[in-house]
Amino acid sequence: MKKHFLKQIFTSSVIMMFLVQVIYVYLEPSEVTAATAPDSVVVSLTVDSGITITTPTDVTMAPNIGISSDGSIGTVLWTVKTNKTTGYSLGVKASASPALVSGANSFTDYTETTNGTPEFWSVASGQKEFGYSAFGTDVTGLGLWGTGANCGSGSTPNATLKYVGFKAADKTVATRNTVTPTTGIDTTVCFAAQQNGVYVASGTYTATITATATEI
């Protein structure tokens, strides 16, 4: 009888121990969780979009046009920098129409076969014209300005560049749809003037050309 009683006590103890263990294991993770406290903050950084353009020196075309020299070319280079995600466009325009004037005298703005569409340089007989082209990394993609990589030599415009006459409204010469390098992107604008079978009145002719870089 006594032996049976001890056996019952032992069995009961084992069951109780097991039950306590199960409860402890169940509660333990929640206690650990309760001992931690999280918090989150949001860190914001705004990167402002911006765009810069260099200010090159004015251009003196060369050689001078005269009774024994019919053509002249000139070059200017603008560098554009932007961090705008969608890039920029660079347009040029003239402050006057026609662009190249000397008092009452002037060069006609270059006349294209199809108005506004650049074409290879060619001035008809009896005409005196002034036009421009462009080349550079962000010019090529437009597919408008030819394949030249310089403005020509001597008094002759580059034969692989395509020219157009200036307008008082912006015409895009370069564009990209991404951020530029911090060193910027160079775009060169080539100027060309020519008299053909006619004399331009002597004098100093000037054109004011404005280049504007705009975030897209």
Binding site: T36, A37, P38, S40, V41, V43, T46, V47, D48, K84
Partner: protein, 219 residues
């Protein structure tokens, strides 16, 4: 007659006296026992371990970065209070890798240390890189690891405090503060400093965000 009455009273008194005597003898041992017994009680009070952390304010880094501004700094802070006898640990991690992103448009690389995971003085952003990192300071922040600064630098210029040491965020916890004892009930504040820099490269314009989670754990 009177004599018989007196005898009866006397007899009855004796019986009563005997009865009282018996009752006394029966009660006496219990009374003696009560006068010598002792008992102890144990009073138990459980002080539950707990830890709290304040809600850190979101941080807007300053100045804005741009084509003419290459650096930016920001800060936030958390106050931790605990009654854990063995103190607490405060750790931070970022939600994403890298931490500071503008959606899928662009992102800052997590600050790269010379020895991965070891905070170093800011200034090692290589040309062509743009990076984002953090440092910390406070009573429970180890100076040997995080530097000796007590501010996050200049929010006007974005220049970091030269006395601080920075590292890049990780998506797993990195300890920035700890102590091995109970805190004051007002808690202990740890500040976190954020720094971003572009070097000879433009971060694409836009709004960049990093979500940083701080977790205080009772030791």
């Amino acid at each position: 007659m009177k004599k018989i009455f007196v005898r009866k009273i006397f007899g009855l008194s004796l019986v009563l006296l005997l009865f009282i005597q018996m009752v006394y003898l029966m009660a006496e041992p219990a009374k003696i026992t009560a006068a010598t017994a002792a008992d102890d009680i144990i009073i138990t009070l459980n002080v539950t371990s707990g830890v709290t952390i304040s809600n850190g304010t979101d941080a807007t880094m300053s100045p804005n970065m741009g084509v003419t501004s290459d650096r930016s700094v920001g800060s936030s802070s958390w106050t931790v209070a605990t009654n854990s006898a063995t103190g607490y640990v405060l750790a931070v991690k970022s939600l994403t890798s890298p931490a500071l992103k503008n959606g899928t448009t662009d992102q800052f690389t997590d600050y790269t240390e010379a020895t991965p995971g070891t905070p170093v003085a800011w200034g090692g952003v290589p040309a062509g890189g743009k990076e984002f990192g953090y440092s910390a300071y406070g009573a429970d922040v180890l100076d040997a690891t995080w530097g000796t600064a007590d501010n996050c630098g200049n929010t006007g210029t974005g220049v970091t405090n030269v006395a601080q040491k920075y590292r890049g965020f990780s998506t797993s916890d990195v300890t920035i503060a700890s102590r091995a004892s109970v805190t004051p009930n007002v808690g202990v504040t740890s500040s976190i400093c954020f720094a971003a820099e572009q070097n000879a490269v433009y971060a694409s314009s836009g709004s960049y965000q990093a979500t940083i989670t701080a977790t205080a754990t009772a030791s």
